[in-house]
Symmetry: C2
Subunit: 350 residues, 2 copies
DNA sequence: CTGAAAGCGCTTACAG
DNA sequence: CTGAAAGCGCTTACAG
């Protein structure tokens, strides 16, 4: 084998690699692990051969010896919102910076057990769930994990029994939005898509009611919803239909709060198509602060989920748990929302 | 240990599991692998214990014995478009149905080597790249993979040396769009964001020119771009600026083709804000056929990438390669686009 | 300073 | 029909 050989062999084990270098497996292993007390010449030789061959240690063999895994399993929901994608991407980046590897799998509702089994069989160090999942199903999975002593973290899916959760403070978010609208003089409110059995929805409604009561108003009299009259297939279409639906009311609310930005945009365009002016005739607020908030005229006021902060907290929580035995008490942390005011909210028409 | 014990032990190896069942590791292993010639009673016992304990075989040990891995590494680009997310999600679903597992990692430009090393060390069966990557960097990674005898597949990032590629036929897509506009009487065309060093962009421009020449027109005289006057940070904003920019021309084109839907929507809203009517005064076409195409009035004509078909082809290509030795000839397949005509394209103003 | 040997958790010839 | 033993690719006491 000449030094100028351009085609080094593909090496798949330390045994082969040691033979190639001309040293024992032990010595090679020690160099690879950066141990001290080795002849400089040997270190050089191993390093050079590593460069030449591009050899990588077999992660499976490595794990079989070393017990503790540096791999974190990430389950993301199958219907991915841009917000969720951002979280996944940031999470992986931050874990990588701390020497951990995130392995992502899409969690299908009907295959959740199978996916989790795969992570278990990989003996991952911890599992993170990002997104909204079927609550009972998720609770079962988390029981499994607890039994196996594997720490977990749920981002967003609040209200799951025994789940360690990090989530946006939705009560606070909606209280803030509502207070803002109250100060602008609005007294009649329309909800767009804020209904249903999710805990996240309950929290948002609670925030709205809280703010209203603080202003001495009765939620039952000033909050209106038409969600029950339409079907949700696509957020935008749903928003359009709700917009139309509200226009048919004799006394239309002057302020609207939507479950997300898509729904808000759907309604906004519908209102404008009817000849209503925003924010002169009515105000409207989205949720998530996505790019489409900038795509309407006027631009859409919306609640920002503070994704970077969320992921920061998630990662540090994860690291704390990683060393420790699994805690018996469930842990929850809330993230402060940021309400971004733009042109779609203005003083109530008198 | 009573039969009604509610808290079965957590078992982490076949040795422990075999002891729990009261059989040898060999027998347990045979049951787990569904081999024939075993006493029915023992099969029952193992199955029951499996159910009780939730034991999973250690994937690492499994792999160490079994050589061939059923894991496919998926690299997705760090800036995820909704289209890319859809592809990743569908890909994982389809691989799962075929007994393979997709492990996803976000490929950061500066860490591409590290990510690939991780997949190599996991000894994955193949690697799929989804999205747009730095062409030279990707080419290097693919050389590495070829050297290691690991099959790969690139979805979307066309024009990479020696890469097996599956991509949308962008030449055809744009030829079709252009022909459609020509038939509507348009003769002057504005490009919105269709410029730059990417092969995908070259292909699209080629398609446009092709169609023009077929109609006896000189591309140099009827295609206009203002991309060089503005900076791209966010597609939508970029589209707005381009829209403004075109409005300042003495002779404005009557038909516009955008690099993606966001850019098209940005320009469309800008045109409308200036008082121009779509499609009466001008026509505009997006790309990707995302949800936002439905959010404008009129709705946006756009090119659909046919994601399901793309993933289908990707998976079958992957399965073909998985058994075989790595082929020396690079392989490319093109997917037929679908041009979806909506209200934003109409007869040219005379 | 370096090497031979044991062991991590599996499966599969090889005996019985 | 079932069990003891070897071996996959690593690392780390244990000798030398």
């Amino acid at each position: 084998l000449t030094k100028t050989s351009r085609k080094p062999p593909v090496i798949r084990s330390t045994a082969e690699f040691a033979a190639y270098v001309g040293l024992s497996r032990s010595t090679v292993s020690r160099v690879l692990n950066g141990q001290s007390g080795l002849r400089a010449k040997n270190i050089q030789r191993v390093r050079a051969a590593l460069e030449e061959t591009g050899f990588t240690l077999n992660a499976h063999a490595l794990h079989l010896r070393g017990k503790r895994s540096t791999v974190i399993g990430v389950c993301m929901e199958n219907f991915l919102t841009p917000t969720a994608v951002m979280k996944v991407s940031l999470l992986q980046q931050q874990l990588r910076e701390r020497g951990l590897t995130a392995l992502i799998e899409v969690l299908e509702p009907q295959a959740s057990r199978k996916t989790l089994q795969h992570f278990l069989s990989l003996r991952v160090g911890a599992i993170v769930f990002i997104g909204h999942f079927e609550s009972e199903d998720l609770a079962e999975r988390i029981d499994d994990l607890n039994r196996h002593g594997i720490p977990h973290l749920v981002i967003d899916a609040v209200g799951v029994d025994r789940a360690n959760t990090i989530s946006l403070d939705r009560v606070k978010a909606m209280a803030e939005v509502t207070t803002h609208l109250l100060k602008l003089g609005h007294r009649q409110f329309g909800l767009l898509g804020i209904s249903g059995a999710f805990q996240t929805v309950n929290d948002r409604v609670r925030g709205i009611h809280q703010a209203l009561r603080r202003h001495g108003l009765d939620p039952a009299k000033c909050v209106h919803s038409r969600d029950h009259l339409h079907t949700r297939k696509n957020h935008f279409e749903f928003g359009s239909q709700l917009g139309q639906s509200f226009c048919q009311l004799p006394h239309m609310p002057t302020a609207f709060m939507a479950v997300n930005d898509d729904t808000a945009v759907g309604a906004l365009l519908e209102f404008q198509a009817t000849g209503l002016r925003v924010p002169d005739d009515l105000s409207i607020v989205g949720f998530n602060n996505q790019n489409i908030c900038l795509m309407t005229r006027p631009q859409l006021s919306s609640v920002d989920q503070q994704i970077e902060r969320t992921v920061d907290v998630a990662v540090s929580t994860l690291l704390e748990q990683l060393g420790e035995p699994v805690r018996r008490q469930k842990m929850t942390r809330q993230i402060e929302p940021l309400f971004v005011v733009r042109g779609s909210t203005g003083p109530a028409k008198r």
